[in-house]
């Protein structure tokens, strides 16, 4: 599902407090216009814009959780709009993700925003990529569908093209053959992707599977997959992955076995590295 996009004050009427579909709201506008936007006075004017106030307040009225990531919170117009909405609908679950590790670097406006709620929290030391990696891992989701399956969106789009009755459409023949070409090319790419995946070595396939499981927070199954492959493998990459995953499990587990596995795997990595050196010499 493609999101509803709001990239300027004039399009704020597109969004809803209780959205039926995903919404992308760029409060200080986008660059995808014929003229330069985001001038300081335009951003500052947001605070008094009734459409912006109504839109943001409708969202705050309904939302349960609000997460700010990848934003410094230094534009007064944007931040005051958020602060006012958060003050009106108090005690929402608010999270601010800070790139640096020093809470003192949080902007004053961001501090004011978090102060509107007794349920707010500051998470330090994460950029957007790292935050979403951890979030997806904790939710056991793993890599997004579009990353796991590069043709997912293209395939979905292709199946939904021109589903209406062709008899009612002018130039239906031309449109139909163009859509068919598009679909057949997507199908050809899917076949090529299948061939590429089937052509992967056993090691590459195991590593890909284990990384997928690890990203989805399923470290125990990732370790099982890796250990099964490692028994007959002299791949440094496989043993290194065994060691990393076992170490991660061991850090938070009272069971000593994963740490023993990590120790043995790191020793194997070192042995293989030293063996490779001898072969080169």
């Amino acid at each position: 599902m493609l999101p509803v996009v709001c990239d300027g004050i004039e399009s704020l009427t597109r969004i809803r407090g209780v959205p039926l579909h995903p919404q992308l709201i760029e409060l200080h506008g986008s660059r995808h216009t014929y003229r330069l936007r985001n001038a300081p006075d335009e951003v500052a004017a947001l605070l008094n814009d009734s459409a912006a106030i109504a839109a943001v307040e409708s969202i705050f009225q309904e939302l349960l959780v609000f997460v700010v990531v990848g934003y410094g919170g230094r534009e007064t117009g944007v931040m005051d709009l958020l602060i006012n909405a958060a003050r009106r609908f108090t005690d929402k679950q608010l999270f601010w993700i800070l790139h640096g590790s020093d809470p003192a670097a949080l902007s004053d406006k961001a501090r004011d925003f978090l102060a509107t709620s007794r349920n707010s929290a500051l998470l330090i030391g994460h950029d957007a990529d790292s935050f979403f990696l951890h979030l997806l891992r904790e939710l056991n989701i793993g890599a997004p569908e579009t990353i796991r399956e590069p043709l997912f969106l293209a395939g979905l789009h292709a199946t939904q093209l021109a589903q209406h009755d062709s008899a009612q459409v002018a130039d239906a023949g031309t449109i139909g053959t163009t859509i068919e070409r598009h679909r057949s090319e997507i199908a050809a790419m899917a076949q090529a992707l299948d061939r590429h995946r089937q052509g992967q070595s056993a090691t590459e396939a195991v590593l890909a599977k284990a990384r997928e499981l690890r990203l989805a927070g399923n470290r125990v199954d990732a370790l099982k997959v890796l250990q099964a492959a490692a028994k007959r493998s002299k791949s440094i990459a496989v043993w290194q992955e065994v060691a990393e995953v076992a170490g991660e499990i061991g850090e938070t587990s009272a069971d000593r076995v994963p740490l023993e596995v990590a120790v043995a795997a790191w020793r194997k990595v070192i042995e293989l590295m030293e063996g490779a050196d001898e072969e080169q010499a």
């Binding site: 003192a104 061991g250 000593r256 740490l259 023993e260 790191w266 070192i270 590295m273 050196d277």
Partner: protein, 217 residues
């Protein structure tokens, strides 16, 4: 002769092996795992110099210091603890306050703990004074606003070093400072967020207050 990338990968593997061994060693009684961890860290340090991988080198020195300090606490004598102090001081050459303030503060705290343990085992007060100075340095960056639980832990450590100093010195000034440090700890360590440390800090405060009361009679 390994190429530079190979050397660094090999050193990283040794460092991670050391960390897994040190974690195991910390959970077990005995010293064998810790000895192995120390050997792994030292092997890693043979391959990386502080000129080419400054922060990794400092991290490995800090890890080495922690493994040596844990071993030193389990063994009699002071040799391991002296080595731990040296490793922490080496780490601080690259973990500078300007470059990595929280890592600098963490290492100052670790250094303080190794010095305080040495100070407890030795007569005199010089090591303990050094420990107090290291903890006070750590608190310059480990502030209550920035890292409240780390601040509280360092206050507790500072309290312990001051308490031992107070026991060895006449007067009440050090003991009063120790009580103040323990009280500061309890401002942040609560039963709901750190029950084990709360109980420990309460015991520490009670003991220091008792000592202070006796000394004040």
């Amino acid at each position: 002769m390994k190429s530079k990338p190979d050397r660094l990968l090999w050193a990283a593997a040794r460092n991670k092996l050391g960390t897994a061994l040190a974690t195991l060693g910390g959970r077990e009684s005995g010293t064998a795992r810790l000895e192995e961890a120390i050997a792994a860290y030292r092997d890693a340090l043979k391959e990386i110099t502080h000129e080419e991988m400054r922060l990794e080198w400092a991290a490995t020195q800090n890890n080495l210091g922690t493994a040596l300090a844990t071993l030193g606490e389990r063994e009699s004598g002071t040799a391991r603890l002296e080595e731990a102090v040296a490793a922490y001081r080496d780490a601080l050459k690259e973990y500078t306050r300007e470059r990595v303030p929280l890592n600098w503060a963490m290492t100052q705290n670790n250094l303080g703990t190794a010095l305080a343990t040495l100070g407890e085992r030795e007569s005199g007060t010089a090591r303990l004074e050094e420990a107090v100075a290291a903890y006070r340095d750590a608190l310059k960056e480990r502030t209550r606003e920035r890292v409240p639980l780390n601040w509280a832990m360092t206050q507790n450590n500072l309290g312990r070093a001051l308490e031992i100093l107070g026991e060895r010195e006449s007067g009440t000034a050090r003991l009063e400072e120790a009580v103040a440090a323990y009280r500061a700890t309890l401002e942040e360590v609560r039963p709901e967020n750190a029950s084990h440390y709360f109980a420990m800090a309460q015991r520490n405060l009670g003991r220091a207050e008792e000592l202070l009361a006796e000394r004040s009679k």
